[in-house]
Amino acid sequence: MKTRQSRNDEKLEKLKSAFYDYIGENHIDNICAEIEEFNEEINRIKVPVTLDKRVYQYIDGISGKKYRKKPWINLNRTYSRVAVILLVLFSSLMALSIGVDAFKYTIQNFFVSDYDQYSSVRIRDDNRAKNVEIEWESYYYPAYLPDGFYIESVNELLNIREIKFKNNGNDYIYFTQAPNDVDISLDTEGGEKKEVIINNRKAIFTAKDGKNILVWNNEEYTFHLTSNLDEKKMKYIAESLEKK
């Protein structure tokens, strides 16, 4: 049986805990009020692209590790065998083509990388498009683009500016910017729409037939991003816009 004193201490302890909790709730409100006060400053800050990369890679890495491990070991074995075959083929081709002009160009585009267990052979595509120069005066451009993307073309018509990015695979990013009062029609009919947030503003993300469309705006411009990349990457590109 507890003494009267220890019961009183217990009750006081409970009261103190409740009091601290209440003070804590007020501290939370104070922090949020402070955030509101500095909201403009917070929105102006540029988050380093390297940080975004690190965090998204971390999230992706954790989720995939468990499932990828086993197939990856098997793939490594397969790669070793394929690489050896390719290396033999490559050596034969080299021997055959020396002195034959017709083959010279192709052979120059072969690159060999040596690894511990195998050699990797790849062909460089010299005919790929080079980055197109942008000659506009004031425009928005994504500070982040996934690796391998280059500008395929740049167009401007009636205040609507479009930059088309591509990589050497089949991926594409079409980025459009237009002043807020200009109407642009996008084919989103029948697509799966949802609301997302880009730089603390509401945006619309639509997925339709393997094509994703992201529409958002800032104080002066409306932006559209159309791509076959996933939602995360598109949001990441959208968040990274910088005025040039």
């Binding site: 103190k16 940080l51 989720s63």
Partner: protein, 187 residues
């Protein structure tokens, strides 16, 4: 001991941390940078905070609510402060005894009376040292254990105990009027 990343197993959890980061990345970076004044260090602080938060995603119900926003700020701010202190070899563990602070000189009625001015008391506590208020809120409002707080803030349990002890001591002083009577801010 906690194992990083084990709980972020399903798609919903993954989406949650992604949404949290996308929504609050600027706030997190701003908070860390305000303490460290260094882009690279601030980047490290935010990255560490995200790793820590990943392990407690189940505690976050509503991503947009004030409680979540404040929680994120508290974690990244304290990680940044600890990084700053570690780098400059500043230690504040050496002075106080670690015994729980006995504030039994305050009777229950006084707590009830101070509830009215809780907002001011919280501000006062944060102005004495924001870390005190942060540790107090993690312990009593978010209901984390000492061990969990130490993990989240990337510090030792001893450090957390000292800060909580000091937080209660400071609150006691505020309650007894040491800060109360002399402050122009008093309501």
């Amino acid at each position: 001991m906690f194992v990083t990343g084990l709980v972020i197993d399903g798609e919903p959890q993954r989406n949650k941390i992604e949404e949290i980061y996308t929504m609050y990345r600027k706030l997190l970076f701003y908070t860390a940078y305000s303490v460290l004044k260094d882009y690279h260090e601030a980047e490290d602080a935010v990255h560490t905070a995200i790793i820590k938060i990943c392990d407690y995603l189940e505690k976050i119900d509503d991503i947009r609510c004030n409680k979540t926003k404040a929680f994120l700020v508290i974690i990244v701010r304290n990680i940044a402060i600890n990084m700053y202190n570690r780098k400059r070899r500043i230690s504040d563990l050496h002075m106080d005894r670690l015994a729980d602070y006995e504030d039994n000189t305050i009777n229950p009625e006084e707590y009830m009376l101070k509830i009215e001015n809780a907002d001011w008391v919280a501000r006062k506590l944060a102005s004495i040292n924001p870390e005190y208020a942060d540790v107090l809120v993690l312990r009593y409002t978010y209901q984390f254990s000492m061990e969990e707080i130490a993990y989240l803030l990337n510090t030792t349990e001893g450090n957390v105990r000292v800060k909580l002890h000091r937080a209660r001591k400071a609150l006691h002083e505020i309650m007894k009027g040491e800060y109360y009577e002399n402050s122009a801010e008093q309501k």
